[in-house]
């Protein structure tokens, strides 16, 4: 098969072709490796010079297929800097559990993908490696923080990729680049070897071209890991989706997340999917998540608070860079952190340290954890009446590079619809719902904890009806 034909295949199709002997894992790897190496989007920060000497066997579930891995996953002997200068030159001595799980299932690492520094951002402009361009329009951002993974999948530089989602970092870039992204239930995938941002929220998840590929990758990521005591045995086998209809499915549309602040073109696309859902047999009803509008405020206390603790480890002692020319230990710490962290990371460390400091803890952190309880209760109550809660994934389509870098809160508003779900720890998918102004729009669907199989099935039925064509971004 020609390289062009190989790139046109979804991951699941490529696995079948390799198994049938119509192509080889090495040919597929090389076709993608050449594209990734010639990447003009800055989506990849590391790509190997050649096909690995040994690829996984063709009878493994993933048949040796190449995988993009977000920079923040530790990968033994390969660059793993979480998009930060402070980890310059870091080559971890071990590999993150989800990456290891996928390798055991037959995935081969194609390279490391760009991201916002320590996963803090919604545009991939906070990377020490520089911004990533959106393949649909190179003057636009791909979203973030998993912007490199999303752009790489959308542009056909890799069949699929790993990302992480703390407040929307898989779903929002998936939406802005016209691909599928899944944020799993908190605890389904091990966080061991993920360079931590906010540990109570961070989850690894797949970014892929369609829902079937998303399910196939997710299937081989999950599982309890003795190195992460918050990870759990996934309660059932992850299945590939097959649903054609949505008969009996009840969709709830939260008023708070589907009106004010959402761009008209995005709402139009969202409403078209709701019409399609009705045609497929679902019921659609407006409902309320009363505390959802406060989610962003709670999140910007909790995530920075956890980040300020997690990032204390970067002090120029054990890994990465150390500032030159300092006299004593304290100035070595403070100068290294000054030189190594970018502006957004510094901002969040300051915000988190402030929120946790004496006299402010109860007013900020304590209250934010109470708001989190209320948000989780809102969802819990909603799932007594609804199978899924649906919203636009992001309030706008991809915006211009540099358009929101001067106003932190305007940037944070990108995650308005994704953050409530993150705080509740429940799973959600983003699928492309169409185009607005020539740019992709994402449709988000959230369900109760461990409902990924049902989410994937419903998303698959919608995907067939939507018939989104992402081939333009791969041209």
């Amino acid at each position: 098969m020609s390289a062009e034909d190989l790139i046109a295949l979804t991951a699941a199709q490529a696995v079948e072709k390799i198994r049938a002997g119509e192509t080889s894992a090495a040919d597929v790897y090389e076709a993608y490796r050449q594209r990734a190496a010639a990447d003009e989007l800055n989506a990849f920060v590391y790509v190997p010079d050649a096909v690995p000497d040994e690829l996984p066997a063709t009878d493994t579930p993933l048949a040796g297929l190449p995988l993009g891995v977000k920079d923040l996953f530790c990968t033994e002997g390969l660059p793993s800097q979480s998009g930060s200068k402070i980890l310059e030159g870091y080559r971890p001595p071990y590999t993150a559990t989800v990456v290891r799980n996928l390798q055991d299932a037959g995935a081969s690492i194609l390279g490391k993908t760009n991201q916002d520094e320590f996963a803090m951002g919604s545009s991939n402009e906070n990377s020490a490696y520089g911004p990533v361009q959106n393949p649909w329009d190179r003057t636009k951002v791909p979203g973030g923080s998993s912007g490199g993974s999303a752009a790489a999948v959308a542009a056909g530089l890799v069949p699929w990729a790993l990302g992480t989602d703390t407040g929307g970092s898989i779903r929002q870039p998936a939406a802005l680049t016209g691909i599928v992204g899944l944020k799993p239930t908190y605890g389904s995938c091990s966080r061991y070897g993920m360079i931590a941002f906010a540990s109570s929220l961070d989850q690894a998840g797949p970014l892929a071209r369609d829902v079937t590929d998303t399910a196939l990758l997710f299937k081989h990521m999950v599982g309890r890991d003795h190195c992460d005591s918050t990870s759990l045995d996934y309660p059932e086998e992850v299945k590939l989706p097959t649903a054609q209809r949505l008969d009996g499915i009840r969709l709830g549309v939260p008023e708070e997340l589907s009106g004010e602040g959402i761009e008209p073109g995005v709402l139009e696309s969202f409403n078209r999917v709701l019409d399609l859902a009705r045609e497929l047999g679902a019921t659609v009803e407006s409902m309320k998540l009363p505390h959802a509008p406060h989610a962003l405020s709670a999140y910007y206390v909790l995530a920075p608070a956890e980040a300020s603790s997690n990032l204390a480890r970067f002090d120029g002692v054990r890994y990465g860079m150390r500032a030159e020319g300092t006299r004593d230990l304290l100035s070595m710490y403070t100068k290294t952190r000054h030189d190594g962290f970018g502006p957004e990371v510094k901002r969040r460390i300051m915000l988190g340290t402030y929120a946790l400091s004496a006299g402010y803890y109860d007013a900020y952190y304590g209250r934010a954890q109470q708001v989190r309880t209320k948000i989780a209760e809102d969802f819990h109550t909603a799932f007594e009446r609804f199978d899924f809660i649906v919203t636009p994934t992001a309030p706008t389509v991809a915006f211009g590079l540099g358009a929101k870098t001067d106003d932190p809160w305007a940037m944070y508003l990108n995650d308005f619809c994704t953050v409530p779900i993150s705080l509740a720890g429940i799973p959600a998918i983003s699928i492309p719902s169409g185009l607005s102004e020539g740019l992709p729009v994402g449709f988000q669907m959230a369900g109760p904890a461990f409902s990924e199989n049902r989410i994937l099935d419903a998303a698959f039925a919608l995907e067939q009806g939507i018939g989104f064509d992402g081939s333009k971004a791969r041209a």
């Binding site: 406060h294 405020s297 300020s308 000054h338 109470q370 989190r372």
Partner: protein, 94 residues
Amino acid sequence: MIDREQVLHVARLARLELTEDEVQSMSHELSGILGHIEKIGELDLEGVPPTSHVVEVSNALRPDEARPSYPRDAMLAAAPLVADDGFAVPSPQA
């Protein structure tokens, strides 16, 4: 509002050196962000338990068994400066 003194205090707690420009912009930006965050102060949260964990599990236990760890050389290899099989740092009193 976060004033200059508070920025410097928090930066000290965070072991983060800031330039004069950064102190200025941090004061402005943090004040703006906190203005949004403080809206959670308007909610009635009397008696609401704070979230401790989002998934209903308690006590993740495992057998207390020794396992092999990573070799010392592998862990030291990533350090900026190594001496006598350990991480080397400047003296606290220099």
